[in-house]
């Protein structure tokens, strides 16, 4: 029978200094990657769509810090944060946003399709819910080959209304596969609030329907996410089967692009309330207060990351465009 811890316990707060620093760095990397990408988009430098992840950093950082390189993830249309946190390089990511041949998909994929097999990043996805069964398949492969890697699938609250989520969850449960289902509940599916697309308050309740345990965490608190993810990953790795984590979080920018509030579907006050609980501010305040890191050390992370990003953007801009003569590249193997 599925059980659910009401929320992840606050007590087992034993997280090492190293983990705090790791979470912080992963979040800063996402934040800066995304805000710079947003600026490039607004400056008209990037083609296509850009679904920014800013605000949700604690989820990607918390989960990815619990994974190994050989663990696999599947992501969504809002996938940059997952990719950055999983260790995909800034250069190939920016180059992809620019449509350059040096990009993660050789310029063929763009923002919604970034992937990196060397990092276990099985791809962002333009089709809502499509990554869920793919993660189930990756977990199946791990067990089949006798490896102990796990697969994590990220999806939004809105995605849990689509068949692939339900079919994937049931399949993972019945086969007892090492999959961690991570719902990033940012309260909206595009412009529709959660209350407009499901009658549940907690997406985690859906896990029970498949006999899958679940836990709800504060998705603005990277430590809380990390703790829950560590448990779920250990559980999956040990062969105990899938589990769902619902992280309550928020996206600061619009569904697509930076600001496009054509029809305001949420209030400025609501955005401000969430921003007041910024995940990076939270971890920095905690780190400084308990002596984990000095302000100067934290600032140094921002500075180093900014430099790295400036170089990556310069690299992307200097990179060659793909050659139209190669239009049929990689349609098939062999």
């Amino acid at each position: 029978m599925a059980q659910r811890a009401s929320t992840a316990s606050k007590k087992s707060a034993q997280v090492s200094t190293q983990v705090i620093k790791d979470l912080h760095e992963r979040m800063v990397r996402i934040r800066l990657f995304e805000t710079e990408a947003g600026k490039l988009m607004e400056a008209g430098k990037l083609p296509g769509f850009l679904h920014l992840y800013v605000g949700q950093e604690a989820v990607a950082a918390g989960v990815m810090a619990a994974l190994r390189d050989d663990d696999q993830i599947t992501s969504t249309h809002r996938g940059h944060g997952h990719a950055v946190a999983k260790g995909v390089g800034f250069r190939e990511m920016y180059a992809e946003l620019y449509g350059r041949v040096t990009g993660a998909c050789l310029g063929r994929g763009g923002s919604m399709h970034i992937n990196d097999l060397t990092r276990g990043m099985l791809g962002a996805n333009g089709i809502v819910g499509a990554g869920v069964p793919i993660a189930v398949g990756a977990a199946f492969a791990a067990r089949y080959k006798g490896e102990d890697s796990v697969a994590v699938t990220f999806f939004g609250d809105g995605a849990t209304n689509i068949g692939t989520f339900h079919e994937g969850a049931n399949m993972a449960a019945i086969l007892g596969l090492p999959v961690v289902f991570v719902c990033e509940n940012n309260g909206y599916a595009e412009f529709t609030p959660q209350s407009g697309h499901m009658l549940l308050t907690d997406v985690a309740d859906r896990a029970a329907a498949y006999g899958m345990p679940s836990v709800i965490v504060d998705g603005m608190d990277a430590v809380a996410v990390h703790r829950a993810a560590t448990e779920a990953v250990a559980r999956a790795r040990s062969g105990a089967g899938p589990m769902m984590i619902e992280a309550k979080t928020y996206r600061y920018f619009d569904h697509q692009g930076v600001k496009g509030l054509r029809h305001p579907y949420r209030s400025d006050e609501e955005v401000a309330e969430w921003r007041a609980r910024d995940p990076i501010d939270l971890i920095e305040a905690r780190a400084v207060a308990d002596g984990t890191a000095t302000r100067a050390e934290l600032d140094d992370v921002w500075r180093r990351t900014r430099d790295e990003i400036a170089q990556a953007i310069a690299y992307a801009e200097a990179s060659p465009l793909p050659d139209p003569a190669d239009l049929l590249l990689n349609v098939y193997s062999g």
Binding site: G110, E190, G196, H263
Partner: protein, 336 residues
């Protein structure tokens, strides 16, 4: 042959997306049984502004925001249509039909047939197709060939604002499931659109430009490209006839055959992948019906056999354009 029931005089220009919106609103006023369902269509007015202001006028009974559940969305339309309503369900991007293909292909399309004709499924599915926005492989496809292959479905591809309105109205009035493939790149384009409600007959082609040297049969957005190519070729003394089928299922082949008998040369152009595309069907039918009139084999222009690439430089090379159409016409004319 007249190709439209529309009033002859249009008084103003309208964008493609506004023309669609106006036709839909008028069809909703005309028939109380018409309702619209889809993701973000009501409160937000649709991600492409297709449904702007309709919630204000028609209210939440007739403008329904749904969860991201395309199979259930199309199924909702099928069931409601079977019970006498005239649903308009929106699939946002055509690429998402993969998620709900069973409901379209096995349910909507076959229901009348399998019920021995006892009911009809007056369902309209609206969606946006086409490349050109850097939207990449999962948001840019033109999948008309998938749908046109299925008996029981109708498929329309408006090439401008005028046809967007008229074909939408006809789709809603039609007693069969009709997929309206709007083109993303055309959304902001304008043409003259009559204010009153009008339908453009489904299954009748339109001769967009008359000419004597080559017949260019162009689908959807390629009509505009073909007309531009015709201007270019006119300067070289070559007269191109441009035929817009408007409806790709059912397909008005008679208009095409008649044109071929006059020009003796045919080029078919579509945005979709050439292999297994509608160009193959059209070429085969022309060869069957008008072989003796052809001075050259029917030429097809479409996309290469690859997913739609992201990088603008690749996307531009991928999608057929006026230059490739003009080049194709010249090649046809070079053959004796």
């Amino acid at each position: 042959m007249t190709t439209t029931e529309a009033p002859a005089v249009a008084t103003r220009k309208l964008t493609y997306v506004k023309a669609f919106n106006e036709g839909l609103a008028q069809a909703m006023r005309e028939d109380e049984n018409v309702f619209v369902a889809g993701e973000d269509v009501a409160g937000y007015g649709g991600v492409f502004r297709m449904f702007d202001n309709l919630l204000d006028e028609f209210g939440p009974r007739r403008m329904i925001d749904t969860p991201i559940s395309e199979a259930a969305l199309v199924g909702l339309g099928v069931g409601a249509a079977a019970r006498g309503l005239r649903p308009v369900v929106d699939l946002m991007f055509m690429d998402f039909i993969g998620v709900c293909l069973d409901q379209i292909v096995n349910q909507a399309a076959k229901m009348k047939y399998m019920f021995g004709g006892a009911l009809s499924v007056p369902l309209t599915i609206t969606t946006a197709s086409g490349a050109g926005l850097g939207a990449a492989a999962q948001h840019s496809q033109s999948l008309e060939a998938w749908l046109a292959h299925v008996p029981g479905l109708k498929v329309v591809m408006p090439c401008d604002a005028y046809t967007a309105k008229g074909l939408t109205v006809s789709a809603i009035r039609d007693d069969n499931p009709v997929v309206v493939m709007l083109n993303k790149v055309l959304l902001g384009s304008t043409s003259e659109v009559p204010e009153e409600i009008y339908g453009i007959p489904l299954g009748r082609a339109h001769t967009a430009r008359q000419g004597s040297d080559v017949t260019v049969i162009a689908l959807g957005r390629m009509v505009g490209e073909a007309l531009a190519a015709a201007d270019e070729l006119a300067a070289e003394g070559v007269e191109i006839e441009v035929i817009d089928p408007r409806t790709v299922q059912p397909l008005d082949t008679e208009t095409m055959f008649a044109s071929v008998r006059r020009t003796n040369r045919v080029l078919v152009v579509h945005e979709a992948v050439t292999f297994g595309g509608l160009g193959a069907e059209i070429a085969a039918q022309i060869q069957d019906a008008a072989f003796d009139y052809l001075d050259a084999p029917v030429l097809r222009i479409g996309a290469p056999f690859s997913p739609v690439p992201f990088s603008p430089v690749l996307e531009k090379a991928y999608v057929p354009d006026r230059a490739r159409i003009a080049q194709g016409c010249r090649r046809l004319l070079e053959r004796s």
